[in-house]
């Protein structure tokens, strides 16, 4: 059966250009970049050229790029590393939004256990961080603010430049040095990553979401920002991230990011048209559906809808049997059996929170694919509503939407 893959927020395929760039570094150039002889120098040069290339793309200095194993490590290193540096001081405070990725939220929770105080910012129904609450939450002992650039589930893009302005003004007024970290893992394909324009101190990127290899990524850490390592070893990555470099991975990451940023405007335009077509059609064809997240401040490839009266996991499995891959924030796919924290944070009434479906489009997605998905989604909803003990009553779901 033909498969239609609409879970590009979970993983993307490795694009040819990146794959080809990696091949020589498996067998031909396998040396250790720390060695001073030729085999080492070749590899060192390749890594440093990639570092320069990435720095240029994000308008940073090469020494501000720390290669990591991906988004989870980047977020851990940024937050844990920034706080680690503050361990000498008593307490400290971290601010994060309620809709962060687990690789941010669980680091923050872990630091809470060590005595760090925390504030979790609320988001509105569209998933936008409450800026007034941020202003009121900043404290003189705040170490860092961590915000997800574009949300992994509902695709909402945060006003990063506005947030950084608030933090900068606070710092100037209070002679403090509150750091600003963004998790940009979902943003690399579609958004401008210029760290100066964004006004961030730390930024996490991973390779596996931008058609690069899995297990790759980098953390941008502005010059002067002190980051403690998560683990200890040799002198690689200025001792902040020791360990023999994942050379092929770094090269592939660089190639993938380069292409992603080169085509991002054209690709965004194409995907926005497809995304909005799909959203419009779903809301029109299937009664009792709502869009989760913002309609404009939204990742070009993200569609997240909730369907009244059906459960997300059942829908995902039905669609899977029809050749369609998509995701859900349903309770039944989590170990805790609660709807996803993002869906909960936007205040979606529970009549809808169990039936959220995420379709994330990719470079190979076509309108023909989406028409097939629309047809199968309609069928799936019909079947599951037939099975469901919750009947679709217009008055009930309209009341729930208004809640």
């Amino acid at each position: 059966m033909r498969r239609i893959y609409l879970d590009n927020a979970a993983a993307t395929y490795l694009e040819d250009h990146a794959e080809k760039s990696m091949t020589p570094f498996f067998k031909s150039f396998f040396g250790n970049a720390s060695s001073i002889y030729e085999e080492g120098r070749i590899v060192r040069t390749a890594i440093e050229n990639t570092r320069k290339k990435i720095a240029k793309i994000i308008n940073a200095l090469p020494e501000e790029i720390i290669f990591t194993s991906g988004g989870t490590e980047g977020n851990n290193l940024a937050i844990g590393g920034a706080v680690g540096n503050h361990f000498k001081k008593a307490g400290g405070h971290i601010i994060a939004s309620k809709i962060e990725h687990p690789s941010v939220l669980n680091v923050v929770k872990e630091l809470e256990k060590k005595g760090v105080q925390t504030t979790y910012l609320n988001v509105d129904r569209l998933g936008v961080v409450n800026l007034e609450e941020l202003k009121n939450s900043l404290r003189k002992d705040t170490i860092l603010v961590s915000i997800i650039f574009a949300n992994h589930e509902i695709g909402t893009i945060q006003p990063i430049a506005e947030i950084s302005k608030i933090i900068r003004e606070f710092n100037e007024k209070n002679q403090t040095n509150v750091l600003f970290h963004i998790d940009a893992c979902q943003a690399g394909n579609y958004l401008d990553l210029d760290v100066k324009k964004l006004g961030v101190d730390l930024m996490t990127i991973n390779g596996s979401k931008l058609y690069g290899p899995k297990g790759t990524g980098f953390l941008f850490a502005r010059k002067g920002v002190k980051i403690s390592p998560l683990f200890f070893g040799g002198e690689q990555e200025k001792k902040i991230r020791p360990g023999t470099e994942n050379v092929a991975g770094i090269i592939g990451l660089g190639a993938a990011l380069e292409l992603a940023q080169k085509i991002r405007q054209k690709e965004s335009k194409r995907l926005i048209a497809l995304r909005d077509y799909f959203i419009k059609e779903v809301l029109k064809r299937i009664p009792g559906t709502v869009l989760n997240g913002h309609s404009d401040m939204r990742l070009p490839n993200n569609i997240n809808i909730s369907i009244y009266g059906i459960e997300g996991e059942a829908a995902v499995l039905y669609l899977d049997s029809q050749g369609i891959a998509c995701a859900t924030g349903s309770a039944c796919t989590s170990a805790r059996l609660e709807p996803s924290h993002v869906i909960t944070a936007i205040g979606l009434p529970y009549e809808f929170s169990h039936g959220s479906l995420r379709f994330t489009l990719g470079r190979k997605t076509t309108k023909k694919d989406l028409n097939y998905v629309l047809e199968k989604l309609e069928e799936t909803v019909k079947i599951l509503r037939e099975i469901s003990a919750v009947k679709l009553e217009k008055s009930k779901y309209e009341k729930a939407i208004k809640k």
């Binding site: 459960e311 996991e313 309770a331 009549e351 003990a389 919750v390």
Partner: protein, 159 residues
């Protein structure tokens, strides 16, 4: 000795470690082809008892309709509808099969079905999914209480 190894197998089936995730072929079969599903809304008096369990907030709701032969108290028909995930749908389907197969169980026999028995018949469930089948059995108990109420056997009502 033999019993022990059987137990061990049972543990593997339900996957106590909670690492397993994929459904067995039986679960998939009952999910994609649910048995005894109530398609049309019932006519008045079509069933002898009805029970509902679960809540929208929890994400699982099960409703069960029963036909019971008064003399023998055998379950002649068990229909259901479920709002829930694949395992909730499959477990309710399997439960309805177990109630009605071979001429139907008596109420007394049916009440002895444990969630583990349903899980076993389904070829196992991922451990985090086990609560789903428990719900099917609770919806059944609610329906049976409804039957006892209607047939004036309130002393038999299960608390």
């Amino acid at each position: 000795m033999k019993k022990q190894s059987k137990n061990k197998k049972h543990f593997d089936l339900i996957n106590r470690e909670g690492t397993g995730w994929f459904y067995s072929d039986i679960v998939k079969d009952h999910f994609f082809h649910p048995r005894n599903l109530l398609l049309k809304d019932p006519r008045r008096g079509e069933f002898d008892a009805v029970g509902i369990e679960g809540s929208m907030a929890c994400g699982d709701i099960m409703k069960m309709w029963l036909k019971i032969e008064p003399k023998t108290e055998r379950i002649k028909d068990a229909k259901w509808r479920t709002f829930g995930c694949a395992s909730a749908i499959a477990a309710t389907s399997m439960y309805s099969v177990m109630l009605t197969e071979n001429g139907g169980l008596t109420i007394k026999q049916a009440l002895k079905i444990k969630p583990q028995d349903v899980i076993k018949r389904l070829g196992g469930l991922p451990s985090r999914k086990i609560h789903c089948s428990v719900l099917a059995d609770l919806a059944f108990k609610k329906a049976i209480n409804d039957y006892f109420r209607k047939t004036k056997q309130s002393d038999k009502i299960i608390k």
